[in-house]
């Protein structure tokens, strides 16, 4: 049996409509999608790990900024209390269930991945797509390039 996938866009629209917000959020949509084939085997590549979780217990009113951390000494946990995820069904108590730093290290040891880039990055999930496209995404790109990342693994909560 295949269960019905959760219609997240529809649920979110209904949820905010119930809060009296009249204008429905318009999710990003594009006709064309970019594609870059890898320049070398994954086993020889340096991978940047990118999350939507935050380095600290950010409040809803705090500014959301691009942040980075050290992958050689990863944090014990990251935070997402101000983000939308299923807080009734699950939790963020196991870092590797949403930020697979130890799993990546194991895959490096097994030879499936070259190495993990020295920094991981936290992307703010902004209401404003323009802000994401003109400020945050270019900042993430710049940091990936500084670190010499060949490929990127993105893990949204």
């Amino acid at each position: 049996m295949t269960a019905q996938h959760v219609p997240y866009m529809d649920r979110t629209r209904r949820y905010y409509a119930a809060q009296g917000f009249e204008k429905a959020y318009a999710w990003a949509h594009f006709e064309d999608t970019p594609f870059t084939p890898p320049g070398k085997p994954v086993a020889e590549s340096k991978l940047a790990l990118i999350t939507t979780a935050a380095l600290y217990d950010r409040q809803a009113t705090d500014p959301r900024l691009v942040a980075s951390g050290d992958t050689a000494e990863p944090p014990e946990r990251l935070f997402g209390n101000d983000l939308s995820w299923d807080k009734r069904a699950t939790h963020l108590d196991d870092l590797n269930s949403y930020f697979p730093i130890d799993r990546l290290s194991e895959l490096v040891s097994e030879g499936l991945l070259g190495r993990v880039a020295p920094r991981f990055h936290c992307v703010p999930t902004e209401y404003s797509q323009r802000r994401t496209m003109t400020k945050d995404a270019p900042e993430i790109l710049a940091r990936c390039r500084e670190d010499g990342a060949d490929i990127a693994l993105l893990v949204p909560l």
């Binding site: 996938h5 979110t12 949820y15 594609f35 990118i50 590797n96 949403y98």
Partner: protein
């Protein structure tokens, strides 16, 4: 996150997203996506299940080399629970929630208005 993946990919850095919001990601269009049909929050596998997490991440690594074009989606074979009730409960609006949600929205609008008046509104 989909927008960041597209930006990196356009700039020559191949990307894979591991995630659970299939409709949102497909609506946007991303280069490569590993879909795990779990509640939002654990896109890399069940908490404390290292074997599953390793398999999900390995699927992602494999997709860098196996995808031959954009919008390539692979679904992992895992099921969250025999009880599928989590699907209906997410952002569920029960009759008893209606008044609370309306009040929450009013509070948010008032707060935004206050921020705007103080010039502290986030750039939108």
């Amino acid at each position: 996150m989909s927008l960041v993946a597209r930006h990196l990919e356009e700039a020559g850095i191949p990307t894979v997203i591991l995630g659970s919001a299939l409709d949102i990601v497909e609506h946007c269009g991303v280069p490569r996506f590993v879909f795990t049909d779990f509640p939002l929050g654990n896109p890399c596998g069940r908490p404390y299940d290292a074997d599953m997490q390793r398999a999900v991440v390995a699927t992602g690594l494999g997709l860098f080399e196996s995808a031959s074009g954009p919008r390539t989606v692979v679904q992992t074979p895992y099921r969250w629970s025999a009880d599928e009730g989590w699907r209906d409960r997410y952002m569920e609006i029960r009759p008893e929630d209606v008044a609370r949600l309306a009040a929450m929205g009013a509070e948010r609008r008032a707060f935004r208005q206050e921020m705007r008046e103080q010039g502290r509104v986030r750039a939108e």
